[in-house]
């Protein structure tokens, strides 16, 4: 085993009406803490809408589901909105298999080129 560990990068962009976190790279148990820290920092800013964009991830395991559901619980508790982008690849498939796509606010549910809100 010689590969370096997985790398995850999170781009944070603020808009007037929302804060978006776009994740790139690989989201697994090795990189989950990076994503959790970014989500916690975003939640601390109390944006009306927090968007987690997972559509550009090269890999996401079920810990990515945990990340989204914990953020959803946090948004529900604070009476704020959480939305996600899942793309059309394996990330979307995993959420579909788990029956979660219909239970989340998925911005690109029908159109990958979604409007942000």
């Amino acid at each position: 085993m010689t590969d370096p560990p997985a790398v995850l990068e999170v781009d944070r962009v603020s808009y007037d009406d929302r804060l978006e976190l776009a994740l790139r790279g690989e989201l697994d148990n090795d990189t989950l803490a990076v994503a959790q820290d970014q989500v916690a920092a975003a939640e601390a800013d109390a944006p009306p809408v927090l968007v987690l964009d997972l559509s550009a991830l090269e890999y996401v395991g079920s810990c990515g589901v945990r990340l989204v559901l914990l953020a959803q619980h946090g948004a529900d508790a604070a009476n704020r909105r959480l939305a996600v982008r899942l793309g059309r690849g394996p990330t979307r498939r995993m959420f579909d298999i788990l029956g979660l796509t219909t239970r989340l606010d998925v911005l690109d549910r029908d159109d990958p080129q979604d409007p942000a809100t």
Binding site: G61, M94, I97
Partner: protein
Amino acid sequence: MTAAPDRPAPPAGGADPFRHLALSYRDTDGLVASLGPMLDAALARGDVVLAAVDELVRAVIEQRLGDRVPGIVFGEPAQPYTWSGQTTAARRATTLREMTADGRAALVLSDSSAVGAPDAWNVVDASSNLALRGLPVTLVCLCDALRGDAERFLYWNHPELVDGVTASPNPRYRTPDQVLTAMPAPPAPALGPPDHTTTFTGAGALRDVRRVTRARGEEAGLDADRVDGLVLAVGELASNCVEHGPGHGTLSWWTAPGRLVAQLDDPGLMSTTTPGLRCPETRSVRGRGVWLARQLTDLLHLWTGADGTHVRLEIVTRAGN
């Protein structure tokens, strides 16, 4: 395996639509007397009706139903059977989840001859009690009263017993955990030396586990979706070794005609007798990895022995195998 619309387990305290009954019969007249009203009611409601039964019982059903026979699908939703009772139960759940996604309920008749040896049947029955939880399914196991080992066949795994046309609670019912503690999942069949083995330690090694897995899947000729599914399944199982097990493990690969086989081994002891059988509740933030891996593979079997915990998985690599 294909993805299916999710039907979550019922909320705690809610009524579970899944029913699992045992019907003991002494002769065909008794069988017809008990089964007839169930079949009549299910067909009248438009339920999905499946019958995984031997030729004798099939003939009895056909004679009883006459021109309504086309309303029945003869065959087991978990076909083709494998040696893994966990896999059989999970396949049943996947198939029945798909068949009832349109809102219909399902009546499934099953006789013990279909699965084979009593021990195997017992594991299938106990595992089905978990895997089918939350589904609108009535599973009726038919048992010839003259056969031996009725204690296990009738009483261990069936919350309800049918006597005549009446179903009543079974006071000798055992929970799946009790059954599978008494009769743990057996080891997977032995294979020869693996074609390829790698070890991994810590979460930092998971990326390399995925790289190796992707390479094996592509070499086996899987299409892109199946490769992605295999990578996710193995990634979840390896992650379990790291997060919930001893932190390290071994991943081995075999190629066989029509299938790609992998096994993860670690020296830890599994804390559950029923891994990944219950459909995760949608609000739960954990406990999805093994269930997810089951949906992405054609066979998944976990067992614990004196030397640790093992997971065998298989992916079919060619249509028709």
